[in-house]
Symmetry: C2
Subunit: 552 residues, 2 copies
Amino acid sequence: MFEASGQTFSAHLRQRRLERCHADLGNRLYGHLSISDICYRWGFNDSAHFSRAFREQYEVSPRQHRQQANEASQQTLRRTLQRGWPTGYHEPADDAAPPRGPDGSDAPGPVAARAAAPLSAPVPPPERRAGRHHHLPANDKTIHWGYFSRAIPPVLTVDSGDIVTIETLTQHAYDDHDRMIKGDSGAESVFHWTAERKNVDRRGAGPVDASIFGRGSGEGFGVHICTGPVYVRDAKPGDVLEVRILDLLPRLSANAKYEGRTFGSNAAAWWGFHYDELLTEPKPREVVTIYEIDCNQGGGCAHAVYNFRWTPQRDPSGVLHPTIDYPGVPVDRASIVENHGVLKNVRIPTRPHFGVIAVAPVETGLVDSVPPAYFGGNIDNWRVAKGATVYLRVGVDGGLLSVGDPHASQGDSELCGTAIECSLTGVFQIVLHKAEDLKDEPYADLNYPLVETPEEWVLHGFSHPDYLREFGDKARSAIYEKSSLDLAMRDAFRKTRRFLMTAKGLSEDEAISLMSVAVDFGVTQVVDGNWGVHAIIRKSLFTDGTAAPASG
Amino acid sequence: MFEASGQTFSAHLRQRRLERCHADLGNRLYGHLSISDICYRWGFNDSAHFSRAFREQYEVSPRQHRQQANEASQQTLRRTLQRGWPTGYHEPADDAAPPRGPDGSDAPGPVAARAAAPLSAPVPPPERRAGRHHHLPANDKTIHWGYFSRAIPPVLTVDSGDIVTIETLTQHAYDDHDRMIKGDSGAESVFHWTAERKNVDRRGAGPVDASIFGRGSGEGFGVHICTGPVYVRDAKPGDVLEVRILDLLPRLSANAKYEGRTFGSNAAAWWGFHYDELLTEPKPREVVTIYEIDCNQGGGCAHAVYNFRWTPQRDPSGVLHPTIDYPGVPVDRASIVENHGVLKNVRIPTRPHFGVIAVAPVETGLVDSVPPAYFGGNIDNWRVAKGATVYLRVGVDGGLLSVGDPHASQGDSELCGTAIECSLTGVFQIVLHKAEDLKDEPYADLNYPLVETPEEWVLHGFSHPDYLREFGDKARSAIYEKSSLDLAMRDAFRKTRRFLMTAKGLSEDEAISLMSVAVDFGVTQVVDGNWGVHAIIRKSLFTDGTAAPASG
């Protein structure tokens, strides 16, 4: 048979493998797999060799074939471009493999082993330590970009009571490379992207090559640069992590030209609440405003430096980005016009905080970092600031705490899609509360991120508080279709009632009356798919000694 | 013919008139007319005489007939009991007539004449006065209950710059007659309701006899006791009224037993956000909590005295109220159980404010007081407090300012349907800004209630900012069906952008960025049909001298 067709067996086998690869590359359901993933899958051990063989056979490169085959669906998908995953796209289970191996390489490994055996974590001394101070820098080895997962190997292991200084980087730093990246070895390592090499290739929970969704190379779903995760020794599912934000400082520009100064970026982007409602031309448009945080004022104020309208950007991999489809695409300065003198009589009192603080979700696979949920995540509440404490229910061994999406200032609603996105470094104390010791604690009954400030309890409601479970396979697209403040309000109401009944011992009637006459509900954000409404309960309402005593 | 049937002509005429009355009383489309209205309409001049004749003819009283005829539709309507008007109910144009004549009598008069010639207003001296101080008590002659209308004759006329002390009464005072009404001649005159006489018969914008809607006698749609209206001389449509709240005090109990003390009521009622979501039995239920405002603490705190579960109440006209279908129904103390010791470790810092502040809508007819709209009305924002200023666009000659729905404290959202409803007296200065002088003023571009506090601008968005126009004939029911925080958020966004562009001279891009990084959006209320989201713009953001200078 082989002779009849003029082929040797090995040639036939190669032919079949190429055909399988050709089919898979043309199948959008395999779009989450990289080209390398696909060629390895069918027995090619060398992607350069595969590429040459493919081109010889089909007269196009694997990437070109993939693009052509998916052109029609690309066009459809572009029209429904959304921050979440396109409806109907199903991620195969094996995509749960994380992108970074224990040593920072690209080699994947078994999920459970990694979470259980954090190879990069320091080995603790056998005796219990208290208050040891760690430093966690932000670089391409210590961050994960755009997703949460129980499968990400921890970059640090701590004991309860330890203090960790965690550097965080804003994913919007490339909006002004000169001010926010240049000279900063950590930021440079994270954002490094040339035609030859992209240090952080995996961005977001979707396919590494997201071009089939009308997105650029390496742009999946989920956008936040998160530092971590941190493995907390002895943390088990059901425990509660208390994360105290002891201090917080803006990251200085490492460019000598801007010595001692700090900058941030605000992108009024296509996922903003305003985008379909613009009044003035050209419509639609995306506008980036660069702010300076006035460090000589103690960081207490920010002012705008300039803004620019987004122009189509071709990334180093050759993909054109007509919109800000993914933060982190290098901006060609020659292509934009800086408008200086904007917001010239405006000074913004800063509210530096972390937009993202999360433990790993219990679900397997990679979880889009945009929608907040029971595990915390992209809460985007400016009250997650210095002096505040965040309580999170541990879902997996070690908790796997990540922090990111740093903001210099945000208003309740984060209306245009982003805050003043600005790299920050925080000092955190991490305290573990074992499940068996939670009784009578205010956080005993936690299934959402609870924030405590010196004056207030801040409870977070979401449109769909457990959207991954609620929507199942469709969660990653459905959550963006079903955004609703009304539902978030209902969730915040339910959580507040529950908190008042369990943590404060009120009857339902007492809780409902108190909520109506004294608890304030506000709009956390309307841009993260899973929209948020928070409830603010002042501690001064209570005179029973469980909180700061009321005056008088 | 008359002899053939054994009737005289006058007997025949009476017979025909009775038949017409019989038909109209059985027609739910005439349900907004009182029985007297109907008998007058068909030529009876004496309602007692009519009643006797009717009973003689039909062997039931007019009221009984009306009830029987409408029983089926009552049952249907009861099932869809809602705060607004039932869908499909159309108010004939002639219902525009207000209930109170210029002298406080029940005789109606032509609408335009009344607004143009406020007979009860003091005659002003010819010279322009400034800062004259008026007192407007609250009694059955100075309040209107549950509706706004350009047709309500003013009870006071003032000049721009005048100061008016306005007493306001809470419509929930009958929840504890002893503490909130007894001995208070103003409150007693407003709430007086016996089988023989109901001082304020017209309550709400609906039919005076609302029994066909499953509501009690005299319970229309709209619930707030409002004092006024106040006619502002020279105010013309297009002008802006600036209403400054100079001072504000709780109303003391007039019962010697509670000398020097003040009380309020919080009703967790069927129109609350929580009502369909109760956890504990019995479900559903309505609960009233009586609070005391700690006057010896300067009114700065409130605490609960007791609560009680609502029990079916039979009003003095004989109608049973299984739910709190309308505030103001006398509560039979023997029918309820007072639970003392509730919320015993809770003290609520008060936020005394006026829930309702309104100019007359431009529409004719009576307008339900519950849904806020462009004319202000039931804003229910606790920031409408001492030191705040409310700007309202004048819609009709004189503006016709009304104030009511006083609250001792409310949380953002007013979740259970009410605040601590507590009678208050305020001192207001009313300043008229003529349309031609508005240029460059922050309130130049106003089509909603704008609130200014010493530190902030507070802009009010609603689900349907001009619902009367938007929904036309169906507005009074539609607004309750279409409540949505998402729409209110959109409206608040649009208003905030407009304010920043017109009052602060920002470009659209500047406004949108500033909104996202520094403006806070909160949930005003989710219980007034037309749900509210407000935007808070801190004055300290601006350093251009148009507001308080920023620090540093």
